[in-house]
């Protein structure tokens, strides 16, 4: 992994995000409007159901963060497919791992900036627990981030495997994982068979932790341990999957089609 290649790609990612107005708007527009919508809901429900609104707001903050950190990585890659510049990028000697790593780092930085803004905006709606428990908050952000990194590598591998027609997976696939991660409800609400599936989802423990934090003000260690274990498995699996998909795409000509 060569740092100068990563640095060049990251600088380019930021330039694209700033120069493509729709990308810049997308980065902030959806997460912040979501926070405002659910923030207002939290204000509305404050009098008759003290923590329900805040819980929905807090979950939405993490939902948006997980979505943003994953989809942004894959969207940055999609941009290369759509603009037809992938071939030139790779022909300059950038390896498949440098290519995705730079995107993950750029995306993480962008997502963290948006997350900080979201946390401050949600503070305005009475969601102060994240500032009162900075250690727990950072741990939750960390698990979410690693889950999203693993998901972005898996999505990149899938797009590489299935072809550019499937680039929509960049902004759609995560939703099914969120649904199965029991974001706004406990696992027990899901049918029994889905409860097992939910345990294997990368964000289940994060959402459980956020709900606990709002409900009781703390999160037991086992939630983080379980979360890290699941995310670790995803990360371990995602790297060879990505490598093999990339290799397959180079073998069957899919990579050329994408460039």
């Amino acid at each position: 992994m060569r740092w100068y290649k990563l640095k060049a790609l990251m600088k380019r990612d930021f330039q694209i995000s700033v120069r493509a107005k729709w990308r810049f708007a997308e980065l902030f527009y959806f997460p912040l409007s979501t926070v405002i919508i659910w923030g207002l809901f939290a204000v509305f429900t404050r009098d008759f159901s003290a923590s329900t609104g805040l819980m929905v707001l807090a979950i939405n903050v993490f939902w948006s963060f997980s979505y943003l950190s994953q989809s942004n990585t894959n969207m940055l890659m999609n941009q290369d497919h759509w603009s037809g510049s992938l071939k030139q990028v790779l022909a300059s000697g950038i390896s498949e791992f440098e290519y995705i790593s730079a995107r993950i780092i750029s995306s993480t930085i962008m997502a963290l900036i948006v997350m900080i803004v979201m946390l401050f905006v949600s503070l305005g709606f009475g969601l102060g627990i994240f500032f009162e428990q900075p250690g727990i908050t950072m741990a939750l952000i960390g698990v979410t981030l690693f889950g999203s990194i693993a998901m972005s590598i898996i999505v990149a591998a899938l797009i590489m495997y299935l072809g550019r027609e499937y680039s929509f997976l960049a902004w759609t696939l995560l939703q099914i994982f969120i649904l199965l991660s029991a974001p706004l409800y406990p696992l027990t609400i899901l049918p029994e068979v889905l409860q097992t599936v939910a345990l294997a989802m990368p964000y289940t423990q994060v959402f459980l932790g956020v709900r606990m934090l709002i409900d009781v003000g703390t999160v037991p260690v086992y939630v983080f341990v379980n979360g890290i274990l699941v995310v670790f498995v995803y990360l371990i699996l995602s790297i060879p999957i990505y490598y093999l998909s990339f290799r397959r795409a180079r073998k069957n000509g899919m990579l050329v089609d994408m460039g």
């Binding site: 493509a20 037809g84 022909a91 000697g93």
Partner: protein, 307 residues
Amino acid sequence: MSAIEIKDISKKFKEKGKEFYALKNINLNIEKGEIFGLLGPNGAGKTTLLNIMIRMLIPETGTVSILGEIVDKNPKILEQMNYVSGETRFHWVLRSRDILDFYAASYNLSSPVRKERIDELLDFFDIKHVQYRKFHSLSTGEKMRLIFAKAMLNKPKVLLLDEPTLGLDPVIAISVRNEILRLKKEFGTTILLTSHYMNEVEQLSDRIAFIYNGEIVDIGDVEKVKLKMFDGYDVYVHVKRIMNRDFLKENKFNVKGKVLQRKLMYNENISNMLSLLHEKGYEILDIETKKPTLEDYFVKILKREKT
């Protein structure tokens, strides 16, 4: 050591459940400083070969070595080469200078060197006035010049050009061709070129290879491959008046108006033919020769391969 060494490259693809070979046992050595033209009809396998050279494709068998390094084993060698295609695109929102800056940084040029090199290339390719314009807003000619500027950033020792003048107007195409010749002359760059414009290949290439159905069916110096395919050329002699038709028929002259046309074999001497006409009393006004072009060669070899 050759600049480019292609050994036993085969590549197959699957289409509608059927496998077919896009390249079959390709062997090619291109010497340092040489301009090598790769000819062939659409779908012959030229671009597939270039894609293998830049690691966009993995071959079934064989290796590509650039400057002695096997590309697949040492991808770092890609930093010593560059690739230009007539279909090259950059991200549409990036400005010309951003694009050059990104590639220069990815070739590990330090910030001051980068700036100097970019300024130099913007000047050279006469695109300084569009350095802060986004790629999508550039004209076709400006885009092509930017693509060439990008290709020169790392002062490549090997340059792959895939249809570099595709869709360009003649004026820009001429400047691109001049640029290619300058690279060879001033920097000794080894160039592998594919093009459907035969006059371009003929003008630029030292040697050519003809690919058909994934196989190299002919290779050699431009003049020599034409000699192999054609045993002679046409001579047109404009005369004041036609006389002695039997003599003309005997000596294989065709008559069109006041023009005598005859195919002259390469081992024949044109002055002998002209002396003969002179002896018979012909007053010669003008002489034209039409030697086979690379386009004639292309058509003839393609016809041969098809049959």
